[in-house]
């Protein structure tokens, strides 16, 4: 046995009993945290005790007791049905089924349903409010109604739902027929994309679907690009901000799309060079990229504004896109570098032996292979830009240039002039394209986002 040998062999595990303090530490921390949370809850509850019930809210005294009773009853019923299910299952399959496993699954369902209800009901409520001309986001509930859902205001009057709020968004808007046609085409292809995604989930054989999928994406992109490019502010002559909502959607799509394209243009070559080329300064540049993105861009806002003002680009899409471009580079370069490193280098080497230059190997071999990554970079940037608010709010000063976020903020900000009904309608319409994109491209999106963090 030499020293060399012991270094090479894997370290052997030697069990050491941790000290008492080391063993007690997690429990001490847990106790402290629980105490803190307990104190917080106590303070919060104390701040509520003795408050008079609000006039605008229908209060049921001791309602939580009934709620707990309902939950307990549900658990009891589930315990019973699990028992029946277990017996039936054992008889029909002849296998041993553990009662606790069945009950556990049933209780999981109950918990998940509650979680889904809490997580999704707010969205459903806003969706319903969009159709409610009486502005149910900000109204007195109907105390005289015997139905408890109406009485408490948890549901708007389902009978009184209209398209009035949506109508206000399209007030004074002229849309030529060909644009309607293009819009319908885009909607249809997006719907087809969603259906294909659904089918893909159910069926395992998806070869034939891939062609349709590609076609749907092409039609969608072409229709949207035509729509976005040829829609003009002159089509929107209505009074008030809300009549220009469709224009703001168009503006957002334009800005997000161009930012996404710019992100691909700027980060792919850089990411490729970082992954494959070895030259002095590569590591330093990479570090520079990483550290630059840590400076909070929002606080450089004054400087960005001053810069764009000198260039005469305030209140222009060019200025906004250029301002976004700086933030788009570092992260995407890093992601693309990781992706290129995961590709086998032998492909490029083979191409270069066949006479391709470095650049040729990049454009002819690596780029065609990185389709899914490019889709992810584009989508991530697109969705991120769509949801951006601060820069857009500062740089875009004219109503005709506003993006969706700024437009929505104009409905909700201000003490006495809030338009919650219109906000709900606009939020519904504004969220739809992103939801459709998200679910249509979920495969790329989830895969790419999580790939950054989760390592095997």
């Amino acid at each position: 046995m030499t020293a060399q040998n012991t270094q090479d062999s894997p370290p052997t595990y030697v069990h050491r009993e941790p000290s008492t303090l080391r063993k007690a530490l997690p429990w001490l921390v847990l106790a402290a945290v629980l105490l803190g949370i307990g104190y917080l809850i106590f303070t919060l509850v104390q701040s509520l005790v003795g408050r008079a019930p609000s006039l605008t809210i229908y209060t049921v005294k001791g309602g939580w007791i009934s709620f707990l009773l309902v939950l307990l009853t549900a658990c009891g019923v589930l315990a019973l049905t699990s028992l029946i299910g277990q017996r039936l299952g054992m008889r029909s399959t002849g296998r041993q089924v553990r009662y606790l496993a069945v009950l556990g699954d049933q209780l999981t369902h109950l918990l998940l349903i509650l979680v889904v209800l809490v997580a999704v009901y707010p969205l459903l409520y806003v969706l319903l409010a969009a159709f409610d001309p009486k502005n149910s986001l900000f109204a007195f509930p109907d105390f005289s109604n015997p139905n408890i859902l109406y009485k408490s205001g948890l549901l708007p009057k389902l009978g009184g739902l209209t398209f009035e709020n949506f109508g206000k968004l399209f007030d004074g808007v002229t849309i030529p027929l060909w644009q309607v046609g293009l819009g319908l085409l885009a909607g249809a292809s997006l719907g087809a994309l969603l259906v294909i995604t659904l089918i893909e989930r159910v069926r395992s054989d998806t070869k034939g679907l891939r062609r349709h999928r590609g076609m749907a994406i092409q039609v969608l992109v072409v229709a949207l690009v035509l729509l976005v490019v040829f829609m003009t502010p002159a089509q929107f002559q209505g009074q008030g901000n809300e009549s220009k909502f469709l224009l703001s959607v168009r503006n957002t799509l334009l800005v997000s799309g161009l930012t996404g394209a710019l992100a691909i243009l700027l980060s792919t070559t850089a990411g490729y060079a970082m992954a494959r080329l070895r030259f002095p300064g590569r590591f330093q540049t990479l570090l520079f990229f990483i550290f630059v993105q840590m400076f909070p861009v929002f606080l450089a806002l004054v400087a960005i504004y001053a810069l764009l003002f000198t260039l005469g680009l305030v209140n222009s899409f060019t200025g906004l896109i250029l301002a976004y471009s700086g933030g788009a580079i570092a992260f995407n370069t890093w992601i693309y570098k990781g992706y290129v490193e995961s590709l086998p280098e032998s492909l490029e080497e083979a191409a270069m032996i066949d006479g391709a230059s470095r650049w040729g190997a990049f454009t002819r071999v690596v780029l065609p292979l990185s389709g899914s990554m490019l889709v992810f970079i584009f989508l991530n940037q697109f969705i991120g830009t769509y949801a951006e608010f601060i820069l857009a709010n500062v740089i875009l000063t004219g109503v005709e240039k506003w993006t969706v976020g700024v437009m929505l903020r104009s409905f909700t900000a201000g003490q006495f002039s809030t338009k919650w009904g219109i906000f709900a309608a606009a939020a519904t319409l504004g969220a739809l394209p992103i939801i459709a994109l998200f679910y249509g491209f979920q495969r790329y999106f989830v895969g790419g986002t999580v790939a950054g963090g989760v390592k095997e």
Binding site: I57, S267, F279, F295
Partner: protein
């Protein structure tokens, strides 16, 4: 001639200079090319704007781009070893123009008194009538400006003759002020170094609200009031980022483990529905929550009313507002943590569970002894980047509470839910903050150093440096 040519050829065939010299040479060449193209682009755009006075000032960008491309190609002919750098040039140019330049400007603002008032323009609040002499070289104030005993104190002169100070002149419309350099001062008459244009009919004059260097005064101001602003805001920032991280991780972990159960029917439906908060742009959903958390009309309080809870002041009570911010942030980001958990779980081999099952381990024991320890490796980087992200999670704070409600004894720019970043934003952009750009820039620098610290720990844990060096 021939010698020069051969030496040039020899220089071209050289491979890249290695080591730090190569880095410096490449940076110097790129910087020279960039500076030259900016210069040439600026000159051309100057020519264009004299030929066509209506041309927008963004013409300088359009002029610069072709010049830059041309010069880059030229540089590549001279230094072929620069080839590798050219892959980085597009990203570098944009990064320098729209990230580095603003950062440099911000850092320089931090040491000045730049604000809404001290903005480098004339002070219109103390305009005083003036007359210009016939030779257009001196300006006489018709009276002492209100509230000042002498012109020296009014103009803020360093020297008693006010040499090299600036006076701002307005015509009757007051739209386009003219700055004039002062040569000397005599009573209420200022002698100027250059003549005022004949076409300019000056009616009023005022002092310049100059942006002056103030050294470390902004930092002194911030740290001087640290006990009422910096420290509480910093503590809340840390508490906010940390508890968001823990809450989201717990929720994501629980849901992920529940949904990874292959026996569970309809788990795809649950997963699809629970994705929704992630799929909808947060700029929309956060504003939605403002309505839902309203004390009098919000649906949250209406629901709680059914349970017998009195109306909770979600957004108006300092303590409750903090709870609300955490809850909304939980709603916004648990789908991501859930997805991350599911992806991480799918990397754990089923054999382990099988073996444990054979050994008689219960489901709970399997979770505690197999799942959680194995999740730790993939969860550490996610948690740390979550902390870093939430440390600067300006969007949720600004759109939900705008930093409020205000806390008695603290300035209104540092409300109960303000994190460092939103405090800086309020200082710069709200009227209550006095549009104090310089203090905001100083705050930005503090935030930057804190972020740097967090990110260093973060990168160390995630192995970013090893990955970069590879």
């Amino acid at each position: 001639m021939a010698v020069a040519l051969t030496s040039l050829r020899r220089a071209r065939s050289l491979t890249a200079p290695q080591g730090p010299l190569g880095v410096l040479a490449a940076i110097a060449i790129l910087a020279a090319v960039l500076a030259l193209s900016v210069l040439i682009g600026w000159l051309i755009s100057g020519l264009i704007s004299t030929a066509f006075p209506g041309a927008p000032s963004s013409v300088v960008l359009i002029c610069m781009a072709p010049v830059l491309v041309l010069l880059l190609l030229l540089a590549l002919r001279l230094f072929p070893w620069m080839q590798s750098w050219y892959y980085l040039v597009p990203a570098l140019v944009f990064l320098i123009a729209f990230t580095i330049l603003p950062i440099v400007l911000t850092v320089s603002y931090a040491f000045t008194n730049y604000s809404g008032t001290n903005s480098g323009y004339g002070d219109t609040s103390v305009k005083t009538p003036v007359t210009v002499s016939a030779d257009r070289l001196s300006v006489t104030f018709s009276r002492q400006p209100d509230g000042f005993t002498s012109l020296q104190s009014f103009l803020g002169c360093v020297l008693p003759t006010c040499r090299n100070e600036t006076v701002v002149l307005y015509d009757a419309e007051g739209a386009v002020p003219v700055n004039a350099r002062i040569e000397s001062l005599e009573g209420r008459t200022l002698h100027l170094t250059t003549t005022v244009a004949d076409s300019f009919k000056a009616t009023d004059g005022t002092r310049l609200n100059a942006i002056r260097a103030v050294g470390l005064a902004n930092f002194r101001e911030i740290f001087g009031r640290a006990s009422t602003e910096l420290i509480p805001v910093f503590l809340w920032t840390v508490v906010f980022a940390f508890s968001t991280m823990v809450l989201n991780a717990l929720a994501g972990l629980i849901l992920g483990v529940l949904l990874y159960n292959k026996r569970l029917k309809g788990r795809n439906i649950y997963r699809t529905l629970l994705f929704l908060p992630w799929a909808i742009p947060s700029v929309i959903t956060i504003q939605m929550w403002v309505a839902l958390f309203n004390q009098q009309f919000g649906v949250v309080n209406k629901t709680l009313g059914l349970l017998g809870v009195p109306a909770v002041p979600w957004l108006t009570d300092p303590l409750w507002a903090k709870v609300t911010v955490l809850l909304v942030n939980l709603w916004l980001s648990f789908p991501y943590m859930m997805t991350a958990t599911i992806s991480a779980l799918s990397t754990i081999s089923d054999d382990l569970y099988e073996a444990a099952g054979i050994d008689g381990a219960s489901r709970w024991q399997q979770i505690v002894n197999i799942t959680l320890p194995l999740l730790r490796t993939s969860f550490t980087p996610i948690l740390l980047s979550g902390f870093a992200f939430n440390f600067n999670n300006f969007g949720v704070i600004y759109l939900l509470t705008a930093g409020g409600p205000s806390v008695p004894g603290r300035s209104s720019t540092a409300g109960a839910t303000d994190i460092l970043l939103s405090w800086g934003y309020n200082t710069a952009f709200t009227s209550s903050g006095g549009q104090n750009y310089s203090v905001a820039s100083a705050i930005a620098m503090i935030v930057f150093f804190l972020t740097l610290l967090i990110s260093l720990v973060n990168f160390k844990a995630a192995g970013v440096f090893e990955e970069a060096r590879r």
